[in-house]
C-alpha cells in the first residue's frame, strides 16, 4: 500500500508506516501500491482515481449546494457517522509541510453520500490541515 512504500527519513521510516497502520486498524480500504504505480505518480491520475471511486457513490437523495454544506457539517460534527471507503497517502507537496504527508480519505455516510477528508501532517507530525470537501466532478469533454 502507498503508506508502506519504501523511503528514507521521517516520512518513509516513521510517519508513513504509522499512518498505514492507523488506516489498517480503522478498517480503511487503502488503494494499493499498484494503483499508485499505475498512476505513475501523476497528481492528475491520482485525482482521477479518487474521482473514479466517487462515481460509484450511491445516490444520496440530497442535491445541490445546500446538500454539500449539510454533508460537510455532518461529517465535521459527527465523524462517527461516516466511514472511510478509500484513502491515498502521499508525500505532501506543500512547502509548509515539507517532509510530511498528505492523506485523502473518501468518506461515506449511511445514505451513500461521499466527501473527501484531506489531512496534511508536517514532518513533526503536526496537523497542518484537516478538512472535508465535496468530490470533484469529471470535466465535461
Amino acid at each position: 500500500m502507498w503508506a508502506a512504500s519504501k523511503g528514507t527519513g521521517f516520512v518513509g521510516r516513521i510517519l508513513a508506516p504509522t499512518v498505514s497502520t492507523l488506516l489498517e486498524f480503522t478498517g480503511i480500504s487503502v488503494v494499493d501500491k499498484e494503483a499508485k504505480q499505475a498512476a505513475q505518480g501523476s497528481k492528475l491520475a491520482m485525482a482521477a482515481l479518487v474521482l473514479d471511486i466517487g462515481t460509484s457513490a450511491i445516490p444520496g437523495g440530497r442535491q445541490g449546494k445546500e446538500a454539500t454544506r449539510r454533508l460537510i457539517k455532518s461529517a465535521t460534527e459527527n465523524p462517527g457517522a461516516w466511514r472511510t471507503v478509500a484513502a491515498f497517502v502521499e508525500k505532501a507537496v506543500t512547502r509548509q509541510a515539507r517532509g510530511g504527508v498528505s492523506i485523502q480519505q473518501v468518506v461515506q455516510n449511511e445514505a451513500g453520500d461521499q466527501l473527501v477528508r484531506h489531512t496534511i501532517l508536517d514532518a513533526a507530525g503536526e496537523v497542518v490541515e484537516d478538512h472535508y470537501r465535496p468530490m470533484l466532478k469529471a470535466p465535461i469533454q
Binding site: 497528481k43 492528475l44 466517487g54 444520496g60 440530497r62 442535491q63 445541490g64 449546494k65 446538500a67 454539500t68 454533508l71 505532501a92 507537496v93 506543500t94 512547502r95 509548509q96 509541510a97 498528505s102 485523502q104 453520500d113 466527501l115 473527501v116 484531506h118 496534511i120 508536517d122 513533526a124 503536526e126 496537523v127 497542518v128 490541515e129 478538512h131 470537501r133 465535496p134 468530490m135 470533484l136 466532478k137 470535466p139
Partner: protein
C-alpha cells in the same frame, strides 16, 4: 513576466495538495502552528488580500476555480482563468499544472518573506 508576491506564493502553497475554500486558506495562512506562513511573514493575512492574490493567481491560470454544483454535492471546475461569479466564500480553489510548475521552482526565503 509576472512578479509574484510572497502572499501569492503562500496561497499557491496552501492549495498545492488539494482544493481549498477561501475560509480554509485564510485559516491555514494564519494558523497558530509553528510552520504557518504568518510566522514566516511576521504578520497575519487579511481576507481581502487573500482574495486579491487569489484573483491574480486565477487570472494567470496558476489556480483553478471550482464551484459547488447545483444538482449534486460535488465541485465543478470553471473554465480556465474564470473568477467566481458568486461570493468568493462559495468557491473552492486548486492548483493548475501551470501553478505546479511555478510552485515547484519556488523556495521560500528563510530570512524574510514579507516582500509585498
Amino acid at each position: 513576466m509576472v512578479a509574484w508576491t510572497s502572499t501569492d506564493m503562500f496561497i499557491l502553497d496552501v492549495v498545492a495538495d488539494d482544493v481549498e475554500n477561501l475560509g480554509d486558506i485564510v485559516l491555514r495562512l494564519n494558523s497558530s502552528i509553528p510552520s504557518a506562513w504568518r510566522h514566516r511573514a511576521g504578520r497575519s493575512f487579511s481576507r481581502e488580500e487573500v482574495v486579491l492574490s487569489l484573483s491574480r493567481l486565477v487570472k494567470h491560470n496558476l489556480v483553478q476555480t471550482y464551484v459547488e454544483d447545483d444538482k449534486e454535492p460535488a465541485l465543478r471546475a470553471l473554465s480556465s482563468s474564470s473568477l467566481p461569479s458568486e461570493a468568493y466564500e462559495a468557491a473552492w480553489f486548486g492548483i493548475t499544472s501551470q501553478g505546479r510548475i511555478v510552485h515547484s521552482s519556488w523556495e521560500p526565503d528563510n530570512r524574510s518573506s514579507n516582500q509585498d
